[in-house]
Amino acid sequence: MRHLLSAADLSREDALELLDVAEEMAATQAREIKKLPTLRGRTVVNLFFEDSTRTRISFEAAAKRLSADVITFSAKGSSVSKGESLKDTALTLQAMGADAVVLRHSASGAAHRLAHAGWSGVGVLNAGDGTHEHPTQALLDAFTLRRRLAERAGGDPARVLEGARVAVVGDVLHSRVARSNVLLLETLGADVVLVAPPTLLPVGVGTWPCRTSWDLDAVLPDVDAVMVLRVQRERMGGGGFFPSAQEYTRRFGLDGRRLRLLPDHALVMHPGPMNRGLEISAEAADSPRSTIVEQVANGVAVRMAALYLLLAGEDAA
């Protein structure tokens, strides 16, 4: 794996390999000594042009547990916030001997550009680019889902997600998590339905490999998992995507009543950070069905696997 820019870059075999490696990584994380020597001497740069503490910490932990040297540039207090260009930063990183760059950026396609513009030869891992993609989030969601469904039904881990029914609810239009999830879950054979007000579904969504619905109540009884997306408050009012927070919550919020529409085994997922009371109620977020805390823990294992395959994969293969 040269770069990880989009969930669409992963074939079924690639994705399953990554999830399997993540399982191995997770197993090591249950030990008392969590650190592995795998990436000793390699340098991973976390380049965060956009603030995201949780994703940054998750990648830092993943790299450190593989014994890589980690350098973090984040939006505050570095040249990044002073308007230094992505290109100049890339050249600097190259000069510093970075082996991989984990990039978070507000512009869609920034990771693609860093990987392919000819500025540097460094491997790039997309940690969220604008409203485009966030592939490691989709991988950790798939990892979490696969584990939970396998615990219940058993079977070949390579096939657990085949036919799994997943609803993704909320602001699909602006969500990099939704795009990556649709692509990855399709690759793994799951059946995805996007549920959102029409204003928050992009023009062109009809060509995506999934179904869409405007009726959450109708969808919930038939799913194995519901992934709730974060809704930004600035999308309403002046943004005009929906009339009010109250109306959004009434029509698309996952509350106690809707929780009871789900099949008994169905999971509740959220990429965080949550707006409790807007897209998800406390009852739903804190219910035993919720995997939200688990997703965070699994994020480290999945990012360890991604870094491993990016940096050590060729030696190992």
């Binding site: 260009s85 992505l86 290109k87 950026h105 507000s106 512009a107 869609s108 396609g109 920034a110 693609h112 550009r113 392919h116 513009a117 680019d129 604008g130 409203t131 485009h132 993609e133 990099r176 795009r179 992009p202 023009v203 062109g204 969504v205 060509t207 995506w208």
Partner: protein
């Protein structure tokens, strides 16, 4: 065709230094081999291929196998001077234009300062004369500072030495319907035309690319076709209501074509242009996030490209205009959202038209002369350009080798811009010679001397 008429006397005002030129065996508009004797800034004599003798001191241009067209006229060029000389100057843009086969270009008004006064348009016009490679015809801004609030002094620009006839806030849309109505009405008194950049500003806030399948996947904010079509629909109705002439810049969607077809059938005095890139490229190219494909209006779908080609073929779209928009490298060598919009086009326009319209059988060379020369000259009221290559007519012409094929290498272009979307593509056709007012400015595909001795007719 007569070969017995007395040639116009050489040494007419301003052209005394230009020796006669005999163009031998050029295929006139792609037809019969013809000799053209150019003297005194005019086509002095024509005759069947090989029939004319070169007068003493004449330069002979052997043109067997080449197609002769009237000098091309661009209705939509960004020369960037004054203000953005790091992107282009009147000199570098003129060189690019001449090498592309153009003998006249309309320089858009979105400079710094904006070309919204007689002083600025005269400055641009004068710079064009000093360079002397093409006739530079400034476009005047419709509104002061392109701000869309109050009319610029359109009359003063029209009666200035620059004789402005095309007015445009290009880059911005004249969105206020009352202001647009007033502009359409007012320019009638100077035989002018309002060239509208049709883009509803609210529907395109932050827009990055065509809104559709590809934008949904790439997570780039969409520029919906309706934002163009709604403005065109309003404007043709306004032009009809007040009986004015309207020109629509860079039409990019199939829906716009339908509206224009309807308006023309209804008798509205509307003309429209399409860019070469909208005739060849689609939004699929954006998938790699390379900002060289970022342009406004954006690249659309294959269906739009097909509709636009048909529209040029059936005359619904009158003109191919380049929207040549050079940018410094740093404005494109960045992430998509941070990049400037626009593509270079002067040096590739004729090749793209050949590729998209001639090789597909939609246009013949006489049609190419119409869409790249006579129609834009008529819309811009350039009486001296876009004329037939016939005796007594102005000697502006371009010789094209239609059999040539070559890869596009932006580093070899004369424009300062390296932002050509055709990099690496192999395109047909090569401009061999460009003649302005009887004087060859391009020969063998290269500029004739870098410092031409003064503009013809300059006082």
């Amino acid at each position: 065709m007569s070969t017995t008429d007395t040639p116009a006397p050489t040494g007419a005002a301003g052209d005394g230094a230009v020796p006669p030129v005999l163009v031998r065996r050029a295929r006139l508009l792609g037809g019969e081999e013809t000799d053209l004797l150019l003297a005194g800034g005019r086509v002095a004599r024509t005759g069947p291929g090989g029939s004319l003798e070169a007068p003493d001191g004449a330069r002979v241009v052997e043109a067997a196998g080449l197609v002769a067209l009237p000098g091309l006229v661009d209705l939509h060029t960004h020369l960037r001077e004054p203000g953005r000389e790091d992107a282009e100057t009147v000199r570098t843009g003129s060189r690019a234009a001449a090498l592309g086969g153009f003998t006249a270009v309309h320089a858009m008004a979105n400079t710094d300062p904006v070309a919204d006064t007689a002083g600025v348009v005269e400055q641009v016009w004068r710079l064009g004369r000093e360079v002397g490679l093409v006739d530079v015809r400034p476009v005047g801004a419709v509104t002061v500072g392109l701000a869309g609030e109050r009319l610029a002094e359109l009359g003063a620009m029209a009666t200035s030495a620059a004789r402005v006839r095309v007015f445009s806030d290009d880059g911005r849309c004249v969105h206020d319907p009352v202001l647009m109505r007033r502009a359409l009405e007012y320019v009638r008194s100077v035989d002018g035309v309002v060239a509208q950049h049709a883009q509803d500003p609210r529907l395109t806030e932050g827009a990055q690319m065509h809104e559709g399948v590809v934008s949904s996947v790439l997570g780039l904010r969409g520029w919906p076709a309706v934002a163009e079509e709604a403005v065109i629909a309003r404007d043709v109705l306004l032009a009809d209501h007040v009986g004015s002439r309207l020109h629509v810049c860079h039409v990019s969607t199939a829906g716009s074509v339908e509206i224009l077809r309807w308006a023309k059938a209804r008798g509205v005095d509307v003309t429209a242009e399409v860019t070469p890139h909208h005739l060849l490229l689609t939004d699929e190219l954006v998938r790699g996030y390379d900002p060289v494909y970022k342009v406004n209006p954006p690249l659309r779908t294959r269906a739009d490209v097909e509709a636009l080609r048909e529209a040029v073929a059936d005359g619904t779209v009158d003109v191919v205009a380049t929207d040549h928009a050079p940018h410094p490298v740093e404005d494109k060598d960045c992430e998509w959202a941070a990049a400037a919009m626009g593509m270079t086009g002067l040096e590739t326009a004729l090749s793209v038209v050949q590729e998209a319209l001639v090789e597909t059988g939609l246009l013949g060379w006489a049609d190419v002369a119409r869409v790249l020369s006579s129609a834009p000259a008529r819309i811009g009221r350039l009486e001296d350009h876009g004329r037939p290559l016939a005796e007594g007519e102005p000697a502006h012409l371009v010789l094209v080798d239609p059999a040539a094929r070559r890869p596009v290498t932006p580093e070899q272009h004369a424009t300062q811009g390296r932002n050509s979307p055709y990099r690496g593509m192999e395109l047909p056709g090569r401009v061999v010679a460009t003649v302005l007012r009887g004087r060859p400015v391009v020969l063998d595909g290269a500029l004739v001397g870098d410092e031409p001795a003064g503009a013809p007719g300059a006082s």
